[in-house]
């Protein structure tokens, strides 16, 4: 809406955080109008700049799609904090910032004189958040790792896998994409408090402590009932039918019926086969004991009604009794279930998601031109503000792209000093 300020317009963020969690926190701020300055090193480039995918399979600090996607709408300065003048220059920048974010091992910022106690001397109303894996204190405070192993310590692995198999985890560095939301919530709440009172503060964020809030009922089930929840494949301790089933074209359909209303819809969608009306299928708690049989029926039904467009003549023997004209592609069978109100979906690959009409309607993916990577796809946020929606204002920054702006205009160096420091390696 014209005349409205973007949510974080006018806020400046010095972002020392790296890899997943920190950059995703500052991405919320940047995409909603804050001036976020990534503070990076050329000597030890940010991990994600060194991890692919790289355009043309050519590794390069300005060529990583991984880094790019998490750093839309941001600026980047480079500094060597081990250079004699590095910490002082950064401190002068922070005097002009509202927020500092960092995710180093505890003690790292203090070694450079950049801990909260020092920084509030130059910026009394600063809001600073530190977000290492395990927080600033405790026996594991110095432990290293990232989302791939933190998901194990936080209980996610234990609850992911088949009941007779290993605790495989989610296939990705999962907690990196779970805990930034809670860090951002705390940070913005602190900013709103500051807006009203003028008082800044320090936030000690331990990723594990946030992650375990994503375990649903598993913690209370242990502390209250002494029951340890276990991984169950694609089943659910409370819902049936509940699973993931292969269609004839090799894609997978999921069904998750949590209520009796869902079950009624499911029966209607299947054409009310006899097995659905068996007494032992009547109530949810009964069906929870019959999941093996339910899964078998669903799979047989899908084998009978779904078709593989590349092999249309294929016929299933021993097919259940379904109307002869019920032949569906996977997309059609999904639409069929949804027509009846059954919670159903297909397992979408990254490719399928790029073609998903709902995500396209939402404008989820943004396409931004990057100086070295060209036109690339970026994720927008999962929410839309009706009046001041996110705007991904630019592609990810090149390493040190905004040095001149930051050192000259914000820190206030004269041109001569800027060039001297550049030559002396202060920006390495």
């Amino acid at each position: 809406m014209p005349g409205l300020k973007k949510p974080f317009e006018g806020l400046r963020v010095a972002d020392f955080a790296w890899v997943g969690v920190g950059p995703l926190v500052s991405k919320y701020l940047a995409d909603h109008g804050a001036e976020v300055i990534r503070i990076e090193s050329m000597t030890y480039p940010e991990t994600l700049r060194r991890v692919g995918p790289f355009v043309d399979d050519t590794p390069g600090v300005d060529n990583s799609g991984y880094y790019a996607n998490f750093n839309s709408s941001k600026l980047c300065m480079s500094v060597d904090l081990k250079h004699a003048r590095g910490p002082e220059l950064v401190k002068r920048l922070i005097a002009k910032c509202d927020v500092v974010t960092e995710s180093f091992t505890p003690g790292t910022m203090a070694r450079f004189g950049l801990d909260y106690a020092s920084l509030r001397q130059v910026r009394p109303d600063l809001v600073m958040i530190s977000m290492p894996l395990y927080g600033q204190t405790g026996p594991w405070a110095d432990y290293m790792g990232y989302g791939h192993v933190l998901q194990a310590a936080a209980g996610i692995n234990h609850l992911t896998g088949w009941p007779d198999g290993p605790p495989i985890g989610t296939g990705v560095a999962y907690t990196d994409f779970l805990v930034p939301h809670l860090a951002a919530t705390a940070l913005i709440a602190a900013l709103d408090y500051r807006r009203r009172t003028g008082v800044g503060q320090y936030i000690d964020f331990g990723q594990m402590e946030a992650a375990v809030h994503g375990l649903g009922t598993a913690l209370l089930d242990w502390t209250v009932n002494g029951h340890e929840q276990m991984r169950m494949g694609n089943r659910d301790p409370e819902a049936a039918p509940h699973g993931c089933y292969r269609c004839r074209d090799g894609r997978y359909l999921v069904i998750g019926c949590a209520t009796e209303k869902h079950w009624e819809a499911f029966k209607a969608a299947l054409g009310r086969p006899e097995w659905c009306d068996l007494e032992r299928m009547r109530r949810r708690w009964q069906r929870l004991n019959e999941q093996h049989e339910i899964d078998r029926h669903i799979q047989a039904w899908l084998d009978a009604v779904t078709v593989d467009p590349s092999r249309p003549e294929e016929v299933v023997e021993d097919a259940p009794d379904v109307p002869a004209d019920w032949r569906f592609t996977t997309d059609e069978v999904l639409a069929h279930f949804q027509k009846f109100g059954v919670p159903a979906g297909v397992v979408q690959s990254p490719e399928a998601m790029r073609a998903d009409p709902q995500l396209a309607h939402r404008g989820h993916y943004w396409f931004l031109e990057h100086p070295t990577m060209g036109l690339r796809c970026y994720d927008g946020p999962a929410f839309r503000l009706s009046e001041t929606p996110a705007v991904l204002s630019k592609a990810a920054p090149l390493l040190g792209e905004d040095n001149e702006y930051v050192y000259r205009e914000l820190i206030g160096l004269a041109e001569e000093e800027f060039i001297e420091l550049l030559a002396d390696g202060a920006m390495e």
Binding site: L4, P7, F8, P53, V55, G65, A68, P139, W140, D142, G155, I156, H158, L159, T160, P166, G169, G171, V172, D176, F177, L182, T185, I188, L191, D192, V199, Y202, I203, D204, G206, E209, A210, H213, G214, L215, G216, D221, E228, Q229, G233, R235, P237, Y252, I255, G256, H262, A344, G345, V346, V347, S349, P350, Q358, H364, R376, D379, A382, F383, T388
Partner: protein, 425 residues
């Protein structure tokens, strides 16, 4: 009747103290509202007369299936107030509208169109309260071709990509048993709510609607797999106990120990630039199986892929080493040597974790109605100036009717009785 309910515990020091939240949400938004409460907001759960449907969600306290015994209800609604209010009846809607004039947030999860049918959509409510932030959390978003589709957690996990990335090559896609699409969309709702709140502060008190999609919440949890598709046209899929590096199955990251499992990226670092630290450890224990030779060391630290039989030998060596040791001992020593390992913890082990105990993490919540107290998870973040606080147990349905309707709307007990008789509250 005169004594006021024991919950929620007051929290005037929270950063959101002074704000009020009306919570109409189901599984997709109750945790979002709880978090705002623990930051100091006054959260009022609005329930139908017979109680919120999620009170039927298991598991239950000692297996006792009744509305105040649902551990789901406890976990997601701790520390809120509860009023009953029948939104299907006009007098109920009138009560709700009056509450809206005194609220900062409404959090709701209805199918798009349902609130409009009740005259309670954002367009209607903003006329009553232009500063209102309405957080509308849905399966797929307020508009679009799937906006009215039915979904539970597994549908969000499938349509939002996570199940494709999860699982293993033999058994196919997989969902995490603890519902992650619900967790994600609740947390995203909280960020959206805070962003709109901040925007309100800088835009003369103007509120707005926050349209949150469960599918999209999972979309942004896909690690680097969307850029991998964008740049390399490769679909990354479930790697089981390995890692998936842009479509290529990498080395193992999970190993069985004497007492469970340990997560040790890239064979615990045994293949990679830091391999010598792990080789030394194996060698000192006499379990290196020759990997400590100069030749092996050179090959393990080089950034050149090893042939499959050699990878298998390295993995077997580490598997044997881990198999005879306890996970926390392994992790402690690996960390000492500079390798970022972590134990695979069950819920019990999370609760017993030395780290969380060392951070004084857990809180004990008194359930005076049961005469017992229980351990709940503690602060997800430690704010120095305006701390997080657990606010007490979850409410019974309508436990705060007198308090809320009396204090906020000036409804006396006689009028409340009339509303009860008319089945409004």
């Amino acid at each position: 009747m005169a004594s006021s309910p024991p919950i929620p515990r007051p929290h005037p020091a929270g950063p959101l103290a002074g704000y009020r939240v009306l919570d109409l949400a189901d599984e997709k938004g109750q945790l979002c509202a709880r978090i705002l409460g623990e930051l100091g907001a006054d959260v009022i759960k609005i329930e139908p007369r017979d109680g919120d449907p999620t009170r039927q969600n298991g598991p239950f306290f000692k297996g006792e299936q009744s509305p105040n015994m649902s551990l789901f209800w406890w976990a997601m609604n701790a520390g809120k107030r509860s009023v009953t209010c029948e939104l299907r009846l006009e007098p109920g809607r009138e009560l709700f509208r009056k509450l809206v004039t005194q609220a900062d947030f409404v959090i709701e999860t209805s199918v798009p169109g349902e609130m409009a049918a009740l005259g309670l959509d954002y367009a209607s409510l903003k006329k009553l309260n232009p500063g209102l932030v309405m957080v509308s959390i849905t399966n797929f978003g307020q508009t679009g071709p799937y906006s009215r589709w039915a979904a539970t957690d597994i549908v969000g996990s499938a349509m939002g990509g996570q199940m494709y990335l999860n699982g293993d090559p033999e058994r196919g896609p997989l969902r995490t048993t603890a519902p992650q699409a619900y967790a994600q969309v609740n947390f995203q709702g909280a960020v959206g709510a805070m962003t709109a709140l901040y925007a309100r502060g800088v835009n003369d008190g103007l509120g707005q609607q926050v349209d949150v999609s469960m599918q999209e919440a999972m979309c942004v949890a896909m690690d680097n797999t969307q850029p991998i598709w964008d740049i390399r046209r490769i679909n990354t899929s479930g790697p089981g106990i390995r890692r998936n590096n842009a479509g290529v199955l990498g080395s193992r990251y999970l190993f069985e120990t004497a007492d469970g499992w340990v997560a040790a990226l890239g064979v615990g670092g045994l293949i990679g630039p830091g391999a010598n630290a792990i080789i030394d450890w194996l060698a000192e224990s006499g379990e290196a199986r020759g990997l400590d030779s100069a030749d092996w060391r050179a090959r393990l630290t080089a950034l050149v892929p090893l042939p499959p039989d050699e990878v298998a030998f390295v993995e077997e060596t580490l598997a044997a080493f881990c198999g005879s040791r306890k996970k926390e001992d392994l992790v402690g020593e690996a960390q000492r040597r500079g390798a970022g390992w972590a134990p695979v913890f069950s819920p019990r082990e999370v609760v017993e974790s030395k780290q969380l105990a060392g951070r004084d993490y857990w809180v004990r919540v008194h359930h005076e109605d049961l005469g017992e107290s229980f351990i709940y998870p503690g602060a997800p973040f430690k704010l120095g100036q305006t701390p997080w606080q657990q606010r007490g147990r979850a409410p019974h349905a309508g436990e705060h009717n007198e308090q809320v309707y009396g204090e906020l709307l000036g409804i006396d007990s006689q009028e409340l009785r009339r509303l009860k008789m008319r089945m409004v509250v």
